[in-house]
Symmetry: C2
Subunit: 196 residues, 2 copies
């Protein structure tokens, strides 16, 4: 009963996103309609449209939440890493791990993320900008500590992200999952050598 | 007339592949049937099947020829490069340039190559193996000249290819063509720093 009350008190925006995420996981984001979401919530489609102007906005919000989970996990993994080199490795390794886990646990949710990356939805641009900022901060820290020696930390961050494309991009990492090499550790060592 | 005779004398395998490539460029590889190819050649479909067991084999042969053009251009560009660093840059730059040109000049042929890469057709595995061997040879040469210092030249070749994924992979390079950075030159400098 406590839980039921909490759910009633939750704001409608989050309730809609919660239900959408569940339906996306069950039947896929393309098959889920605003009508399905409204039906599950026992509200009218018109009420859903008060909070989301279109289905695309709901797709974007569910995708944003999924990437926010990855971002939160990255921050935890960085907090547990001592050196800039370890932080860099932890960032890419965590993104790869969570994307791979999602692909294995729910391919329908993974499809939403794949599509978002392929079509470069706004949530992906935000996510990638956050990742670039984080990598830039880690590389700057390494620069201050004398571990890295680069001219432009922001550019170095872009290069590391680009070099690690097959490990951080949700669709490409699935495509390359059958290719044993290079491993993520080998690629990180390569990047660390370039930064040193 | 000379040309017509030459064409008659050409072996049927190449004639079929020539016509298939032209039809693929005009209407796309998916819409082209064995019947269309036979009709253009004024031969029976059964005769086409004497040389290619399936449409998939024709797709593979046309794709192989397109990638062979890239391989030939890479070899020319390497012959014009003095140092191992320049050869490495020339290899990736030539692949990027020819893929981009094909995408701009004939998207239907580019689609065949994209599909071949996405589904990892045999011709792609051969092409990538050739590229890996070439990169390994260039890195070994740099190692002998004291420019590069790596433990394993074959692994270093894999890492360079992987780091340059957005420049050498026909589909991914199209997807990332709107992203101005990192440039190919920046990525090559990054790889050269890692190899040094």
């Amino acid at each position: 009963m406590r839980h039921a009350f909490a759910s009633i008190e939750q704001n409608p925006y989050d309730r809609i996103a919660d239900v959408a995420e569940r339906l996306f996981a069950d039947i896929g984001f393309q098959k889920t309609t605003i009508g399905d979401i409204a039906h599950e919530l026992r509200m009218s489609p018109a009420n859903v449209y008060r909070f989301f102007a279109s289905k695309a906005e709901i797709n974007n919000e569910v995708g944003r939440r999924l990437l926010a989970e990855i971002e939160a996990a990255v921050h935890v993994s960085i907090d547990h890493s001592a050196s800039p080199s370890e932080k860099l490795r932890a960032t890419i390794a965590t993104i790869e791990k969570l994307n791979a886990q999602r692909f294995l646990s729910n391919q329908k949710l993974h499809e939403l993320i794949e599509r978002a990356f392929t079509e470069n939805w706004p949530l992906v641009r935000d996510h990638v900008q956050k990742l670039d900022k984080l990598l830039t901060k880690i590389i700057s820290q390494g620069q201050e500590e004398g571990v890295f020696h680069v001219e432009d930390c922001a550019l170095a961050a872009l290069l590391v992200r680009s070099a690690c494309l097959r490990f951080y991009h949700p669709r490409i990492l699935v495509e390359y999952s059958e290719e044993p090499e290079p491993t993520l550790d080998q690629m990180i060592e390569f990047c660390l050598a370039a930064l040193a």
